[in-house]
Amino acid sequence: MNPQMLVDSASTVPLPAPWWFVEFFKVLGFTLHLAPMHLWFAGLLVAMMLRAGGGLHARTFSRRFAKQMPVLVAFGVNFGIVPLLFLQLAYYQFFYPATILMAWFWIAIVAILIPAYYGVYLYAFGLRDDDPAGPSAFRRWIGWGSAVMFIVIGFLFVNGLSLTSSVDAWPAVWKDHQVAGAATGTGLAAFYVPMVWPRWLMMFGLALETTAAWIVLDAAWFARRETDDYRRWAGRFAFGLAVVGAAWFAAAGSWYVFGTWPGPVRETMFAWPAMILTAITALSPGLPVVLLAMLTQRGFSRTAATIVAATQFGVLAINAVSRQVVQNLEIGKFTDLAGQTADIQWSPLILFLVIFALGAVVILWMVAQVVKAARST
């Protein structure tokens, strides 16, 4: 079956925003989603391991991190809404069929997310600063359970998005999982789209590095009660973790690019000018490693930690941009994405931007109140 047959014609409702606007918010939203998501995707597992087998400082970090987790999950999930909205807006012809073909796995995300999220709270509520014994065995199990569930959710996301851009695989999934032409929703992309595995692993490697950046950022800004000795440990550990993460990213990324990219995508991404983007994406995760090495050599400082974190955020942004370029290449084979007929809703668009700016002001005001209160206590 020619997969093009399965791609529906364009919507009868025109695109309400300029194309660049859609792409901008999709990439921005995804970058904002990535940063906290990495902390629960890989970070929580690291924290559980440190709690089980680490020394004094490792346990201190683990405790701090687990307590931050509920807030991180809340914001990370919330930021995920932005790319989801713009993905559905402009890639509906691809996103809906793909997720319907794997409907039960896709919907499992929310079913798993609820216990994983409550688990994080349960574990965090069991942590006391002054309690050497730590949380009860029951709560520790819950913590491990959440860490595993987040990794599974990440896997399901990779399945959904890989299938969204792998139209070539749709006929086979549909054929194997249908009742009279209707999808049963039981086709897991990983069995049909080889790129799922390296993509998932690649994300995990990058997530380790983001966790490393968070460790130093937290030690620099939020850990006033901890000792200088703790901060030195944080720098050293973060460096080690970032080395592992970057190496892992390089290995899985090579598998992804050389082993699973469709030929035309590879040709374009290795040709001028996309080649520059490919090279920057591949090399950029080295930068935080170098910066962390300098931080451990020259001594821990707030400035250094902030630079590491900002650089890692830049790495994530570059990654999000490349991902978008590749997604557009894969899908662009089947439809003219940027050429969708548009009828721009200017007044709602501008109102949204105004509200976006005002919302940022309100949030900054609230944060300023908190900072003021923190200074005075």
């Binding site: 919330n78 559905q88 919302g359």
Partner: protein
């Protein structure tokens, strides 16, 4: 048609939407009303320097966050998940129409989360005035997000002038907008008070404090009940005529309408005789009873709100079976099997000889074996009927609905939907396709139950 249809055995996919939506609504209304409760009552407690009440409010805030930020937020995300899977065409149309409504709503979500966490985690560390202000920021942001989403859900029931003038604001300020905002705001006030009563009755030992809570929340709850009633009346007045006609035509909705009136009356009476006249009555059992009845009324209301849209998902814009009304002439011409994206792919793959020049070849169709006719009929069932009907067993299963009818009778019934069953989408395909569907339905229709003595020989029909 446009998208692959997701076959969910027994329940049907759209029922999953209803299920998730109802669960979400029970918490999200509390997320709005409870925020108002916390802001108003914290201000009151500070003013009176009521230490015990403040301590209680802090416990309540913790419960509130655990329920709304986790369960409330994720079930809201779950609605997105299920509508995309079970009603993709309608979701596509709604998102391309209202993306900025949702984007604005998202900004208020971020404000809600930030203010809720600060309100709770920084309790006792912020100056009192600042603390109360943050509570108000939460309450306001939550209510605005309610208003924004209501514009979109109200649109689905009555888009007003939008089909002729497809602009954002015409769609957003639709005839159902104000009634539904009033009803939902009332629902938020009422449900929040009922949550507060249950939580307080379980967690406050001191009788005097419990009475205080009881008295403080009675006025918002009664005001909420009045607003639900007023908004409900407005909802009815601004229903499209077909929706008003659906109400009596489905037996289950009649029962539900009766139930909702009864449950609301019970909650009203309980509030009046309980917290209003006898604030000391606030026992856990009594509070739980009120909350259960409140849940019942709101869930049923939500279910009816969804159900009366038949045969549409978005009134006059998208039909229940994921077809746009303006596509009907084209499909009547080509046939559904040749005219839908996924149905055409199915036929091209399995019965390539049936499609010629983009339409069904009727001669070859007529020559098909019975088993193939049934197989194609099942495809038609999936793509035309499964939104609202399970197959042989389950929710509104269609097998029993055609019990005892011959294929010809069924075919005639289907072709006549347009005249006789306005709450179902009219038949979209060709008469020959209706014949295929009839063969399939005949194959899954059960026989009459055995063992019934009716005083004579049963009619022998023309099977």
């Amino acid at each position: 048609m446009h998208y692959p249809w997701w076959y969910v055995p027994y329940s049907t996919g759209p029922m999953l939407i209803a299920l998730v939506a109802v669960v979400h609504v029970l918490v999200s209304h509390y997320a709005v009303g409870g925020g108002l409760f916390l802001a108003v009552e914290t201000a009151f407690a500070y003013r009176k320097q009521h230490r015990d009440y403040l301590a209680y409010l802090r416990r309540h805030a913790r419960f509130f966050i655990l329920l709304t930020v986790v369960f409330g937020a994720i079930t809201g995300v779950a609605i997105w998940w299920t509508i995309g899977l079970a009603s993709p065409l309608a979701t596509e149309v709604l998102i391309r129409t209202f993306v900025f409504g949702w984007a604005m709503e998202w900004v208020f979500f971020v404000i809600e989360i930030a203010s809720a966490f600060i309100f709770y985690y920084w309790w006792g560390r912020l100056p009192e005035r600042t603390h109360v202000r943050i509570g108000w920021i939460y309450a306001l942001a939550a209510w605005i997000s309610l208003v924004l989403i209501t514009g979109i859900t109200a649109f689905m029931l009555n888009p007003g002038d939008w089909p002729g003038n497809r602009t954002f604001w015409v769609g957003f300020f639709n005839p159902q907008f104000i009634p539904q905002v009033v009803a939902r705001t009332g629902g938020a006030l009422l449900l929040a008070s009922l949550y507060v009563y249950l939580h307080a009755s379980l967690s406050i030992k001191d009788e005097r404090l419990r009475e205080l809570v009881s008295r403080r929340s009675i006025r918002p709850s009664l005001a909420g009940a009045v607003m639900i009633t007023a908004g409900g009346a407005g909802w009815y007045v601004f229903l499209p005529p077909s929706a008003i006609a659906v109400l009596p035509s489905a037996a289950v909705l009649n029962v539900f309408m009766g139930l909702i009136v009864a449950m609301t009356a019970v909650v009203f009476a309980a509030l009046y005789f309980g917290p209003y006249r006898n604030p000391s009555w606030l026992s856990p059992g009594f509070a739980a009873m009120m909350l259960i009845f409140g849940f019942g009324a709101v869930s049923i209301g939500e279910f009816i709100r969804e159900a009366v849209r038949k045969p549409y998902v978005v009134y006059n814009v998208v039909l229940g079976n994921q077809i746009l009304p303006e596509e009907m002439p084209r499909l009547a011409e080509s046939g559904v099997l040749a005219g839908g994206t996924w149905t055409r792919a199915f036929v091209t793959d399995r019965y390539p000889e049936l499609i010629r020049d983009d339409r069904l070849d009727l001669d070859r169709l007529a020559a098909l074996h019975h088993a193939d006719r049934v197989a194609l009929g099942e495809v038609l069932f999936q793509y035309q009927c499964n939104d609202c009907h399970a197959a042989a067993n389950g929710y509104s299963a269609v097998g029993p609905l055609v019990r005892g009818r011959s294929p010809r009778e069924i075919q005639r019934l289907i072709l006549d939907f347009r005249n006789t069953h306005f709450y179902m989408p009219p038949w979209a395909g060709t008469p020959e396709e209706a014949g295929l569907l009839a063969d399939y339905l005949r194959a899954i229709a059960p026989d009459n139950p055995e063992g019934m003595f009716l005083g004579g020989n049963a009619r022998e029909d023309d099977r």
